[in-house]
Symmetry: none
Subunit: 80 residues, 4 copies
């Protein structure tokens, strides 16, 4: 068997791993949609919920960046 076919097999396995992961990812996206739909059915405003999730995500992200810049400062001061 040529090295070419070996490589092809390897490539195929990479592709299939990716496709499996993307399927799982897609399933999660649908789960999320379902939760929003369920919440909507219970009387909640989806738009508001999305905004809340967004703001909380920003908090997390901002905190992480603040920690990073603190590290940068400490490094600059020779304390890292």
């Amino acid at each position: 068997m040529s090295s070419n076919s070996i490589d092809s097999g390897h490539l195929k396995s990479f592709i299939e791993r990716i496709e499996r992961l993307e399927e799982e990812k897609k399933a999660l996206a649908e789960d999320i949609k379902d939760v929003y739909a369920e919440a909507k059915g219970t009387g909640y405003d989806v738009k508001v919920m999305r905004k809340i999730v967004s703001l909380r995500r920003q908090d997390t992200h901002k905190r992480k960046e603040e920690e990073e810049i603190l590290d940068l400062y400490l490094s600059a001061l020779g304390m890292g």
Copy 2:
């Protein structure tokens, strides 16, 4: 306990479910990135791989549509 606080608790639980799902989704996105990186390290061209995955996704999508059309035809013919 007021209905308001009950609702708030319920909303909170919806939000937290969504956030958990989004974390899992994000983790999968990183897994996918990792696989691409690993393939790259093995000598594959990531851009080409993405193209392959994309084409195969289109095929899948197209096949599904064709199956749906076939189902429609069969139903229309009283054979579904």
Copy 3:
């Protein structure tokens, strides 16, 4: 003159407006790069500066979203 050529002329003018705007945009991107370079020459750490700019941008963005969600709340309460 055919309607076709009139349309073409119109399209051309749209394209040219866009290209002019994109040139200006590109020039600004270079101006920004120049300022970073100048600051670096004065002894500042570009990475830190970028992080500061990023954090301040996040502040602005978050404030805007907080105002939006406040509007959503007020609307939901019939006070919008």
Copy 4:
């Protein structure tokens, strides 16, 4: 006044210059979007327009490279 505070003031002015430039850049990006929207309202296909702009940009880039190569040749021949 310590050199530290002088530096801080200078840093602040760099940051503010950058932020002003970025605002202008963002405004231009919106102008561009507006032109596309206007063209769309006139019946043009935005996707096609983007493709045209992109192709023309590539042409420009290619021509510039060719001119640079020509310059190199001329220099090499002692004619630059």
